[in-house]
């Protein structure tokens, strides 16, 4: 019962945030200097085309009505036509988004798993050389922008060591039918293991470049929360009552220590999506970020709105999931939320 209340509250909040976001995007798209219609149809189009277009885009109506039209269209998944691809923005998003999501999820897994391993090693061997090495590494990870990691990785692992390919999602020799849009899954569905491996190899460098920052951040947080909790009375108390060391480590310590790590994960995932914008450029990754980037550089308003709203939705959904997991881990949050504060 508690949990249901919590979920409902969280979902309501998410919907509200998305509404606000749509308002911001709409506002931003209307404050753009210059006439959006002129931009859309080109400078040589005759005036009547422009007028027709204005009518079509409801630009002659009052601003609230414009927003209403825009919002209803957006709700139906209609973001208009992209200037760059001359196709519906929704169609473009459908095509490019899975590549970005695949990359983001892959890097999320890398960062989370890596952070838990490094963080607990660091806490367990606190103040030894293991801990110090991990701390120095996570410091560097935090301060280095992901596009710098991307360049260094390409240079070292792709060009110099030749371990990984530099660009794209898969070797062109493979012709994998698109089913889910996830190259790894599609290649598995096609039963082509070599293609699957090739897709994974293509994923590793860009995913690592994106994962480095979050990994470092999460490792640092895991370390400090584990070290803190290790000194807590309830650990000493459990030991005093004869609870086995293995159980203490794997449950009594791990569960409360996971809470801050998982909490920060939502933000880190967002940072990862943002960084994907730059990393996809460097790796020539045919994803939504690269699409969004080219839309931004050519002031393709419809595409920009669509892309940002998509990322907003992903971010909000991820955060709801993260909150639900955290609430699952931490009864205090669940109880407080259910009480209604």
């Amino acid at each position: 019962m508690n949990y249901v209340t919590f979920v409902l509250k969280r979902a309501f909040h998410a919907v509200f945030v998305l509404l606000g976001l749509s308002l911001i995007i709409f506002t931003v798209s209307r404050i753009m200097p210059g006439d959006p219609v002129r931009l859309a149809v080109g400078s040589r189009a005759p005036q009547w085309v422009v007028d027709n277009m204005r009518e079509q885009m409801h630009l002659n109506e009052s601003i609230p009505v414009q927003y209403g039209h825009w919002f209803i269209d957006a709700l139906r998944g209609d973001f208009g036509v992209s200037l760059v691809t001359r196709r519906g923005v929704a169609k473009d998003i459908h095509e490019f988004f899975p590549a970005t999501l695949e990359l983001a999820l892959f890097s999320a897994v890398i960062s989370l798993v890596g952070a838990l391993i490094l963080g607990s090693l660091s806490a367990r061997y606190k103040d030894t050389w293991v801990d110090n090495a991990i701390r120095v590494w996570s410091y560097l990870g935090i301060v280095t922008p992901s596009f710098v990691f991307a360049i260094l990785f390409v240079l070292i692992f792709a060009f110099w060591l030749n371990w990984f390919p530099t660009i794209g999602r898969i070797d062109r020799a493979f012709d994998i039918a698109r089913i889910t849009g996830f190259m790894t899954i599609d290649s598995l569905l096609a039963g082509n293991l070599r293609a699957f491996w090739d897709a994974v190899v293509h994923l590793i460098l860009p995913a690592c470049a994106i994962a480095m920052g979050p990994l470092a951040q999460e490792a640092r947080i895991t370390r400090s929360s584990m070290a803190d909790n290790l000194a807590k009375d309830y650990i000493a108390s459990a030991r005093a009552l004869g609870v086995s060391e293995r159980r203490i480590m794997s449950r009594y310590l791990l569960k409360p220590s996971l809470i801050p790590t998982v909490s920060i994960f939502g933000l880190d995932f967002a940072a990862g999506l943002g960084n994907a914008f730059l990393v996809e450029l460097i790796f020539n990754w045919p994803g939504l970020s690269r699409y969004g980037m080219s839309a931004m550089l050519s002031k393709d308003l419809n595409a920009i709105s669509g892309v940002i709203l998509t990322f907003g939705v992903v971010f909000v959904v991820v955060n709801v999931i993260v909150d639900l997991i955290v609430a699952q881990l931490d009864p205090r949050i669940r109880l407080r939320a259910a009480k209604g504060s």
Partner: protein, 308 residues
């Protein structure tokens, strides 16, 4: 009771008197903590790095070996030279000294960080104070729900979108970063303020008829100072990264001006053979951000020790 009466009233159980005493001991603490700060090697490395870079940036025309390479300049004879005694960081594809350009590039990065924080911090802090003070009212909901919305998009994406819609230049890049960054300060200050809202010293100020600005800025704000300063020092690093990222995609510092991000992206075309063209500016970003982070962590420890 008149203010003068209060001052002459000596009783250690009186919180007003205690506050006065606390200020002296706080100064003492600060002196001791500064000593502690200087004893922490990492914080000192951070401070020295930041100071060095600031000096380099301020006196760039006198320090950079080839200051003329920052202006439109070509020297194809010396193009794409690897690092050497003459050109420590090598030269780029049109023969400009990369070290000189990096030194000038620090100017843009520091300016970015400074301008953004100078604009963002007062706005964010004021909104946070208001929302925290008028807790659970429409002011609170309006401000805090707005921050929720702004924080619902990854900052880099929002900044990219805003910057792309405006003209691509440094000013608009700063504007875009400002628009994405204020909610963090609002949240930070809101957290502290709402915790202090019902504390005795706030209530007593209200009861004695203090005006709103006094309560906000003289009673509550001093309690937020240490987290704000810590965050500012850490944020210098993040804002610099954000600015470099915008420059990297061509939405910040415009060539031929030497933005660090601009230089990195310009150099990617010449990977892997002329790696130095983008690697050195990239490392410069890392060093700069590292400096601010070490400094910020040092400050955080300092303030944490002071609080306890």
């Amino acid at each position: 009771m008149k203010r003068r009466d209060l001052d002459s009233y000596k009783d250690l159980n009186d919180p007003v008197q205690l506050a006065g005493l606390k200020r002296d001991s706080r100064r003492e603490n600060r002196a001791r903590n500064w000593y502690k700060f200087t004893r922490n090697p990492l914080s000192m490395v951070g401070l020295i790095t930041v100071l060095t870079i600031v000096v380099l940036a301020v006196f760039a025309p006198f320090i950079a070996p080839y200051p003329e390479h920052v202006k439109p300049f070509t020297d194809f004879k010396n193009a794409s030279r690897p690092p050497s005694a003459e050109h420590w960081f090598g030269t780029d594809e049109i023969g400009r000294d990369i070290l000189s350009r990096v030194i000038f590039g620090f100017r843009f990065s520091l300016m970015m960080g400074l301008v953004v924080l100078v604009i963002v911090v007062p706005i964010g802090v004021l909104l946070g104070l208001l929302a925290g003070y008028y807790q659970n009212s429409w002011v609170d909901s309006l401000i805090m729900r707005t921050t929720d919305v702004f924080l619902a998009v990854p900052p880099l994406i929002l900044a990219l979108a805003i910057a792309s819609i405006l003209q691509p230049n440094l000013f608009n890049a700063m504007l875009a970063v400002c628009l994405t960054w204020w909610p963090w300060y609002t949240r930070l200050v809101y957290g502290v303020t709402s915790g202090l809202r019902n504390e005795f010293f706030v209530t007593s100020a209200e009861v004695t008829g203090a005006r709103l600005p006094h309560i906000l800025f003289r009673e509550i704000l001093p309690n937020c100072v240490s987290p704000i300063f810590t965050k500012m020092s850490l944020d210098m690093g993040w804002v610099i990264i954000l600015g470099a990222s915008l420059s990297f995609v061509g939405l910040g510092v415009q060539p031929p001006r030497p933005g660090l991000g601009t230089m990195v992206s310009g150099g990617t075309r010449y990977l892997p053979d002329q790696w130095w063209i983008s690697v050195f500016p990239a490392l410069a970003i890392v060093v700069l951000v590292l400096g601010f982070n070490l400094l910020g962590d040092g400050l955080r420890d300092l303030f944490a020790a002071e609080d306890s």
